[in-house]
Amino acid sequence: MSDGRLQAIGLCRYYHRGPQTVKAVDEVDLTIAPGEFLGIVGASGSGKSTLLNLLAGLDTPTAGEIRYENTPLRALSRQELASYRAHKVGMIFQSFNLIQHHTALKNVEMALYFNDTPHRERRCLAEKTLTRLGLGDRMHHRPADLSGGEQQRVAIARALVKEPEILFADEPTGNLDHDNTGQIAELLTDLHRRGLTVVMVTHDLELARQCTSRIVNMHYGRLQSENEPPQPRKASS
């Protein structure tokens, strides 16, 4: 069972800064069911991005485990982990992270380099995805010539073109104005309605409420359900 299910068990990611230990993610237990739209909210620096990167297989935990379809990611070789990212995971970022010297089309095509898509099919798939996201007339533009909203849509196209099972979005609207935020939010809800599992990190609780099916709250690296009242900052440890 549990096809497409992603699970975090006792997940920890610590950073060492001199004598101090920063517990960016601390003892997180989380299950992401296939088809759900999970919102992760929390203050800046609460460890949301770190958690997302761990789940996407881009970072390795200090302790604890991530299981994808019951297989612990820890058991995968580095090449297999890369393959997990290439086939199962799509990622979008607050700062879009498009490659500046490539066109929108080339940026999208590049996602297909790593998942065994035959050479001749890549362009066609990339064009189709961009057109679907309303960027049919922007394909040959470079990121610098596109608006923030358009850039983020190119980034979404790049994440979607390889048909991932889960889309991780790290503050996807963080750099966008109100209108563009609305467009991106709509796009993500639409994708979720079509069956895609989406995990979105945001510090915008309103946005999270508007489009997600479940919200979890991060606080100093620890996870709390949304219903729990946010704990007051501890004056002392």
């Binding site: 881009l58 970072d59 990212r85 970022f93 607050q94 700062s95 490659i99 590049m110 790593f114």
Partner: protein
């Protein structure tokens, strides 16, 4: 990622940093061009020498000499005579043996007269490759022909410019011989001179004194000896023949076989040899001592200063050499010399290659620098690629392909550049050689293996240079690389 993807992404990256890539490639170009130019000189030189050996069939030629010190008792009997020639001819792998017998001759042309050295050779010997390098004309057809073959040394001695102008010229070849007859005839002649003065001086009363008598006998013997020597030195007779120049062999100094300026057909030459002793009169005393002077100069008793052997190319020369040396003779084989030369060229080429390599190492540092710089600039891009699913292997290969391309492009341009340098140098060298009167030859060679070696070296060095940057790029932490600006 397919190999095609690696190539297309890497060329794209190089294209984007055109200036820096061009400068880095230029380093490789200079190194490879220098390597190619230097090496093609070394290889060309070697080819020239080897070709000369092969064209003249020298690798199949062996020289045999008598032991160095003929005075020693144990070597006195080891001489090159007809018997020895016959036994060497019978050795397996020996195709042809021809003895070398030189003699002094006087050449008289219409304009001038010079003394030089001649040797007699049979037509079979002349048909070997060693005599194939003619500057003009052809070799004579039979052993008793009234023709001679000259070497370029004769041209020089006669102060003639072109070989062609000598062909067909008639030369009077003459030889001064001293014979025992003339020497002995001179003895009574000398004895009779001043006989009266000498007789008048004899103290008759002291004839009984044994010492005085011995003194007198000694004095008379001395007079007789003086007469004999005088006869040898001065009362020489001249034998001459009129011969036509049929061809001129290349080789200002007689070529590798050290031929004498004139080669006479063997039967024609025998006329000269049978006339008497033509060598240095001083050496004649030696000949008298061992008795050879008193024998007729027939084939069976004559000894030769050296033999030339033509060997079967399919037969190893070493056993033949060992057999002959076991008999007490000395040998010299061009095959062995060529082996030595080849051994020398291995070190020579290696030395040249090291010079070229130093330049390549410098170019490699340029590649390292360029690649490390591009990692710094492309950190974020590498992070993006990793987030899209690129593995460490993909990133490493991308960087290696990039530095490999720098090496290959540099090598291709460098090979062309080095070839052009060698062409220019070759033209200059030929002009100088022509001006100096040396027959112009190609000093540079660019064989396929040298091109392949240059390409291989450039590729290997650039991959080694790219290895560290590539590993560093592969290890970049994508989380750090992607953190918002």
């Amino acid at each position: 990622m397919t190999f095609r993807d690696y190539i297309s992404v890497s060329t794209g990256n190089l294209w984007r940093m055109k200036l820096r890539a061009t400068l880095t490639v230029a380093g490789v170009v200079i190194a490879i061009a220098a390597f190619i130019a230097i090496m093609s000189y070394g290889v060309g030189l070697q080819q020239n020498i080897t070709e000369q050996y092969e064209n003249l069939g020298l690798v199949n030629t062996m020289m045999v000499y008598p032991p160095r010190d003929q005075q020693k008792v144990d070597t006195a009997n080891i001489v090159i005579n007809q018997e020895m020639v016959d036994s060497i001819t019978a050795l397996p792998g020996v195709r042809l043996v021809y003895p070398f017998n030189e003699f002094n001759v006087t050449i008289t042309t219409a304009d001038t007269s010079i003394t030089t050295k001649a040797q007699a050779l049979s037509v079979t010997a002349l048909q070997t490759k060693a005599f194939s390098d003619l500057a003009a004309g052809e070799t004579f057809g039979n052993d008793s022909a009234k023709y001679i073959l000259a070497t370029e040394a004769l041209l020089h001695d006669l102060a003639i410019e072109s070989a062609d102008s000598l062909i067909g010229d008639t030369l009077i070849v003459s030889i001064d011989v001293a014979s025992l007859d003339s020497a002995i005839a001179r003895v009574p002649q000398t004895m009779l001179e001043n006989i009266h003065d000498r007789a008048a001086n004899i103290r008759m009363d002291s004839l009984r004194n044994r010492d005085y008598l011995m003194h007198l006998v000694h004095a008379e013997l001395k007079v007789a000896m003086t007469g004999f020597m005088d006869g040898l030195m001065n009362a020489r007779k001249t034998v001459s023949d009129t011969l036509v120049v049929s061809g001129v062999l290349r080789g200002r100094f007689g070529g590798p076989l050290r031929l004498k300026p004139i080669i006479i057909p063997i039967a024609t030459g025998r006329n000269f040899a049978s006339a008497g002793y033509s060598g240095d009169p001083v050496n004649m005393l030696g000949a008298m001592y061992d008795g050879s002077i008193f024998e007729a100069p027939s084939d069976s008793s004559r000894t030769f200063p050296k033999l030339t052997l033509e060997l079967d190319p399919h037969h190893a020369y070493e056993p033949i050499r060992d057999t002959i040396e076991a008999l007490g003779f000395r040998t010299f084989s061009f095959a062995e010399q060529l082996k030595e030369i080849r051994r020398f060229f291995i070190y020579f080429d290696l030395g040249l290659a090291v010079v070229g390599m130093i330049a390549l190492v410098t170019a490699a540092l340029g590649i390292v620098n360029t690649m490390v710089m591009s990692i710094v600039e492309r950190t974020r891009e590498i992070g993006v690629l990793k987030s899209l699913g690129a593995g460490e292997r993909d990133i490493r290969i991308l960087f290696l392909v990039e530095s490999g391309l720098i090496g290959i492009i540099g090598a291709i341009i460098g090979i062309i550049g080095g070839w052009m340098i060698s062409r220019v140098a070759s033209i200059i060298a030929r002009t100088i050689m022509e001006r100096e009167g040396i027959p112009p030859m190609e000093l540079f060679a660019l064989p396929l293996w040298l091109i392949a070696t240059a390409l291989g070296f450039a590729l290997a060095v650039s991959l080694i240079a790219g290895y560290y940057p590539a590993s560093r790029a592969a290890r970049i932490d994508p989380v750090n690389a992607l953190r918002g600006e």
